[in-house]
């Protein structure tokens, strides 16, 4: 089974990377960019059934993939 965990910064948390990228896009002359926030995706292959996989992914996100102090995450099982 394939799944994707997407981890993004909580609103209001400073994103130095996003800020630097924003600046770089502007100086490359790419127009109209108002803001950039960077996050991570984890593409995970798992064994087992869907409910078990979802529980495992949630555990993985909570305990390792996301830093829930400053990040949110979303789990999608793609089948």
């Amino acid at each position: 089974m394939k799944a994707r965990v997407t981890v993004t910064l909580k609103t209001g948390v400073l994103d130095p990377q996003g800020k630097a990228i924003e600046g770089a896009l502007k100086s490359l002359g790419i127009d109209g960019v108002a803001s950039v926030r960077q996050g991570k995706v984890f593409d995970i292959e798992l064994d087992g059934d869907k409910t078990k996989a979802e529980a495992a992914l949630k555990a993985a996100a909570d305990r390792l993939l996301a830093n829930t102090v400053i990040e949110n995450y979303r789990v999608e099982v793609l089948g």
């Binding site: 209001g12 948390v13 400073l14 130095p16 600046g23 830093n67 829930t68 102090v69 400053i70």
Partner: protein, 736 residues
Amino acid sequence: MSRNEPPITPELVASHGLKPDEYERILKLLGRTPTFTELGIFSAMWNEHCSYKSSRIHLRGLPTKAPWVIQGPGENAGVIDIGDGQAVVFKMESHNHPSYIEPYQGATTGVGGILRDVFTMGARPIACLNALSFGDPSHPKTRHLVSGVVAGVGGYGNSFGVPTVGGQVRFHTRYDGNILVNAMAVGLADADKIFYAAASGVNMPIVYLGSKTGRDGIHGATMASAEFDDDSEEKRPTVQVGDPFAEKLLLEACLEIMAKGCVVAIQDMGAAGLTCSAVEMGAKGDLGVDLDLDSVPTRETGMSAYEMMLSESQERMLMVLKPEKEKEAEAIFRKWGLDFAIVGSTTPSRRFVVRHGGDVMADLPIKELESEAPLYDRPHVPSPQLPVIQAREVAPSLTTADALEKLLAMPELCSKRWVWEQYDHVIGGNTVQRPGGDAAVVRVEDGPKGLALTVDVTPRYCEADPFEGGKQAVAEAWRNITAVGGRPLAITDNLNFGNPERPENMGQFVGCLKGIAAACTALDFPVVSGNVSLYNETNGRGILPTPSIGGVGLLDDFTKSASLAFKAEGHPILLIGDTQGWLGQSVYLRDICRREEGAPPPVDLAAERRNGDVVRGMIHAGTATAVHDVSDGGLLVALAEMAMADGIGAVLDAAPAAIVPYAWWFGEDQARYIVTVHERDLLSVFTKLKAVNVPCIQIGLTGGHEIAIAGERAVDLKVLRRGFESWLPDYMAGKP
């Protein structure tokens, strides 16, 4: 004044960490109820972190003066003169609570904060050190905290581009719920171009520099002064994120405008950001400050005055600018891609006025915000005196050789290489002595001068006897500098203690400070900067009292520094200083005999000075081929460290008959050094030391690939080194 602010209620006051009598003080001072923004400002200015209300009266007892001190405590960092028109600027600061909540970001912002303190004064940072205290290795959180904190310290320093050259790492169950992250930064400046916080001149523009303001860490300073409880992890979103890249730009931009003569006064925004920095500039300069928050660069929409005044967004500065230099300064900041905004001006009124959206949100007497802050002489009781452990009563459970092998492979004494190899300690090309020795040595520009830098404290001594422990921390820093050939000049301190409202904790604080003061006085080693971190306590259990001491010393010629590695075979090994075999509070007693007991070793400051001066003299004269002070773990551990460093062993005489062997080898008597010399210099060294009454005996010869004590099993250096080097990496890999 009109505004959409909540009404002031007793609950609101309490949630700002202000006690009822403190709130009474505010009412009396203002003659009216404060606004919400004003309440926030008071809470920031009057909390423990900014006002030092519990510690101030005791800090006054510290010696802070010497002919080479340019600036003592009270500014962003201390400044000392190192000759040739050069000055060293340094300070240490804690980021304990944030690092427990979010180890990576907590540590990065700690390092960022202390670097800013140093370059705000016009110095280019040239070295960082760090002192880290973690809980017991078996505590479920410890590994995660170590890995996050170390990555964070490195992550910031490496990117900012300053070598991290030394520090300490310890583990003890008393830090289980309350780790300590103390970061020290050292910078170099021209002695006649130091910048201060005090504003001068009326109607001068106040400029905001650096990154934009967000809702980061609002109430961070309050958090740093609150005791932890189990749901403190709920306070998480107040954690700030560090941006070392922005700080590097800020450094370059600040140094550039300083060099161009644009700056009248400058202050970084640290804890309680805009509030503390603006008040300090005004109060120190005897001026009022008018701030217009509509001009503050923000990165979030709809920020209130309260939020802007209390935000702890990182990488920001406040500056009073020479009006005629405005365009030039702005151009420099734009070039570095940083925000630059005039946010206010100085006034003759001595009032702190904050405007936002057409309203006056705060109007306070500026000097009183500092001078009227509460000041407490909290009750304190001395720690009970512990009995002196008699060495003969201790039943050794292991042979000397087995004990040595075991001690070197345990958390207290094992190599901390896993930590410092994650820090860029060579950038700058000036690191003469890297981590792993006594003090780090950093060349000053192209030389020939060098700085000797170290951080020290032995918390178990401070717990057992705060006065002796305080003395010992200073003495050990002085000794580590001496052991590389440096002349100790001054210290910065970072006083980490538990809840000061408990008389036992306050007693520890008072005792340690008296000890520090005594040692600084006796050793001519004044305190020029420092930081106090109280309330390091979880569920009523305080940390070990941990006054970290950061020492700075000077070498006139960095090429003449000594290091601890044995240099060649056949060098006589000398022990300098007196040994009685003091086992109380030793690592041996605790980790081998499982007894965390007794009075710690007393520190004879006159002997420290005498012995240290002699050792330094031998280094300068070129007679010492290797030098190491004897500290944690005692004589045999120090010898093993010297042997492991370059793989040259030692053949050692048996312990003298008057002292039981384990006390001789593992006792932690103070004021001692191991020095090796050339055979040919032996007699003259003995004669010289005798003449100045410094105890010195030969205890063996360098050589071989073992630590070989007469009558004991010889221990192979490879075996020792394997244990020494593997405990920490194995632990971090989850092995034990």
